[in-house]
Amino acid sequence: MSEQPDTYAASAEVGAVRTRRSGFERFGLLMKSAPPSAWFGMIVVAFYILVAIFADVIAPYGEAEIHSAAFAPWGDEFFFGTDQIGRDVLTRLIYGARNTMGIALATTFLSFLIGGGLGLVAAINRRWLDQALSRFVDVLMAIPSLIFALMLLSIFGSTITSLIIIIAVLDSTRVFRLTRAVAVNVAVMDYVEAAKLRGEGLGWIMRREILPNIMPPLVAEFGLRFCFVFLTIAALSFLGVGIQPPTADWGSMVRANASLIQFAKYDMTAAITPLLPAAAIALLTVAVNFIVDWFLQKTSGLRE
């Protein structure tokens, strides 16, 4: 606000923000303003990602390698002991990060592709298509999703592909609802009308006019959905229809070693073993939610 001409000039009008920063600078400012909880979340998530990527390097043994001693205690050879058929628990935890997180990520992406795409279409075409999609989603949501998933998995078989597709489709109903709700508000803006008047097609309006403006709630929802998908997979694995052995996965690790809990009065560490994968899940969920909370607060424009 340094220039103050006496006469009127269009280019000297006072705008809201005068300085323009590069993407890098803005990212730096964003990071500086992050609260400690968000930092904790980011560090934990980064750690998980590193573990997942370098699982082969970090893990002391092979993913499905069976050792002679089943239920071995914690020690130098097997840091967290071995499970019921003699596989190293630490190794399985490390590979579990890769498998469970990879599958959860793929599932969440797929569900956003389906739910987000259809939600946008429904928000733009408010006539029969919106009605048809919304009612179909209502029907899907009326059935308890875990039971529905169990049923579908027993029909199609518990392969990783069908697991991903089934959970993604069931989860996309929620994404659809959210996307449609936020996109409807954007779809009535004048700039969308201006694009329609220009003669733009559905694809352009969806991708270029609406999508960039509904990204914040979608990204926040992505974080939450990721956690829920994660928990659903863990739950399904615990029930035995999720990720199948010998692929390591946290949910099924809890189930396989669950019986160890009853030895708590003899050996504390043995009782903790089945809780380790559960703790891994809990920590990741908390971390992701910290980041999402921060992001939500940032984009909702709340101060103080």
Partner: protein
């Protein structure tokens, strides 16, 4: 400020009254872009009991911030850095929140710009009107209610006995604004702050609201600060006027003196804005016409047998209050709302009724500029994307050619290269509207439909936009359909005028014909409701209407 000696004996300001509010060296900083910026830079303000002060300036001048500071309140993201606010012996700048809360709503009241957004939709009007007086124990609830009815009557609300039982959505915007004034008056405050209370209203409604506000403030001898950017309005209300710019005081004087002999060049430029007038030219070659259009939103019929002709290279202004079908007419022309019956003819051939049936070429010929430039531009696209898209879309321009044409367009709207990579949020109101004009121009249209394009802007910015539009019309022979409710704008830009009322065309013809008597009843009401820069205008008008 030192107390200006009364040079004009007619001035109603009485300088013998006791000083109610004294603000000295007010400085307020606002937080944006990770930094504190000064918003108010040392402004003084003195208000005596029973006086009305007008606070004017363009948006961003800090007038609302200063008005709120008079209550000792700063918005979140703002802070008072220095100065004193003495209200009846209490320094509000130092007072604790608890002490201030006791004053707010009872001794100091605030009337906001958007009444609709300030009422709780879930409670009846009367309950909200008496809440402050009853809760603070000023008088018993039953008395407050009886008093509220009297206030409603004094504010000339219809059915004062029963209107309080309605909910906010059941009354009109103008009525709601008056109920809000009643709410502010109910505890009989010493000071009321009006923050642009009539800006969102139609001219015809504005007159009624202004008159009733002025009467009630005079009746109870309440002091008031009236914040607005409309000079003609403030001339009716205020005893004296303070002009703000860039958070500093430009000039302060009693109203009459300010209107007749402004001293500072900036104030003079504000005063001269409304004198813009375009000589009318009759047009013969009809480029677009709509014939016998009936249109409806669902079951509600909005347009009845509307026919309008647009001569090439001329401006046709469509005037009327909100709900008269002006914007719907534009929607029919663009194809957004296919009519029930009637035709749209462009260059002699009939256009398909629906948008999706029109060809790219037909779409390109008719462009539109919206009232709210904020919502008309995608906040995630840069100026380059916004202007560049029609170039790509209609003409397939890419790379260097596209960039050159964008620069050419920016030059036409008097902006430069530095705006290329700005986002809409980094532009001022007038600049945003200019970018919208450039986007329309990029398509090389025959017709531009301008839907209230200047009504959200300050007067000085409005003038700049209108002159730009006129210059572009001359150069490129563009036809404008100019939708507005502001007669000053109509005078400035139009060749022909169409007056609409309740979905029908009341009158249509050359500007000189429409703006000279005899008038049909509605045209007369509309024309007489436009505030003039004469402090006696409202008084005279009301006398005339009473006859």
């Amino acid at each position: 400020m030192t107390v200006t000696p009364v040079t004009n004996p007619e001035s109603s300001a009485d300088f013998s009254n006791e000083i109610l509010l004294k603000m000295r060296d007010i400085r307020i900083d606002g937080y944006s872009d990770e930094q504190w910026h000064p918003i108010i830079k040392g402004v003084d303000l003195t208000l005596r009991r029973g006086e009305i002060m007008g606070l004017i300036g363009e948006s961003g001048a800090g007038k609302s911030t200063l008005g709120k500071a008079a209550m000792g309140y700063t918005q979140p993201g703002c802070k008072l850095t220095s100065g004193s606010i003495i209200f009846d012996g209490i320094d509000l700048a130092k007072a604790k929140d608890r002490e201030k809360r006791l004053l707010w709503g009872t001794r100091i009241a605030y009337v906001a710009q958007s009444a609709a957004a300030s009422f709780n939709p879930a409670h009846r009007l009367i309950d909200q009107t008496v809440e402050a007086a009853t809760r603070r124990g000023i008088r018993p609830d039953a008395e407050s209610r009886a008093d509220a009815v009297e206030l409603f009557r004094a504010l000339q609300l219809p059915d004062p006995e029963t209107i309080g039982n309605r909910y906010p959505h059941q009354v009109s915007g103008g009525q709601l604004q008056r109920v809000m004034t009643a709410m502010a008056m109910s505890p009989r405050p010493d000071l009321i702050i009006f923050d642009e209370p009539t800006t969102a209203l139609d001219v015809t409604t504005q007159v009624e609201v202004l008159a009733s506000m002025r009467n009630i403030v005079a009746e109870f001898n309440t002091a008031a600060i009236y914040i607005t950017h409309d000079l003609a309005v403030v001339a009716q209300m205020a005893d004296f006027i303070q002009v703000l710019r860039y958070g500093e005081e430009v000039e302060e004087a009693p109203t009459r003196q300010m209107l007749t002999k402004p001293e500072m060049p900036y104030t003079k430029s504000l005063w001269s804005v409304r004198s813009l007038e375009k000589p009318e030219v009759k047009g013969e070659d009809i480029v677009l016409s709509i014939n016998n259009i009936d249109a409806a939103y669902g079951p509600v019929k909005v347009l009845h047998d509307v026919s309008i002709k647009l001569p090439r290279g001329r401006t046709v202004a469509v005037v009327g209050e909100s709900g008269s079908g002006k914007s719907t007419t534009a929607r029919v022309m663009t194809g957004l709302l296919p009519p029930l019956s009637g035709t749209v003819t462009f260059n002699g051939e009939e256009l398909p009724a629906a948008l999706k049936d029109r060809s790219k070429d037909q779409l390109q010929r008719i462009q539109m500029i919206y009232q709210m430039a904020d919502t008309a531009m995608n906040p995630r696209q840069t100026v380059e994307d916004i202007i560049g898209r029609p170039l790509e879309f209609y003409f397939g321009l890419k790379g260097k050619a596209r960039e050159e044409r964008i620069l050419e367009l920016l030059d036409m709207i008097e902006l430069d290269e530095s705006f290329m990579d700005r986002l809409p949020s980094e532009l001022s109101g007038g600049q945003k509207q200019r970018i919208c004009i450039a986007r329309a121009l990029a398509a090389r249209p025959d017709i531009i439909i301008c839907d209230e394009v200047t009504s959200a802007l300050d007067q000085i910015v409005q003038e700049g936009i209108l002159q730009l539009l006129l210059r572009l019309q001359k150069k490129y022979d563009i036809t404008y359909l100019f939708i507005t409710h502001d007669i000053a704008t109509v005078k400035a830009i139009s060749d022909e005028i169409v007056v609409m009322f309740e979905g029908e065309v009341v009158e249509q013809g050359l500007k000189s014909e429409i703006l000279s008597p005899p008038f049909p009843a509605y045209t007369k009401l509309l024309l007489s409701s436009v505030p003039e820069m004469d402090p006696d205008w409202l008084t005279n008008l009301l006398e005339k209407r009473d006859d």
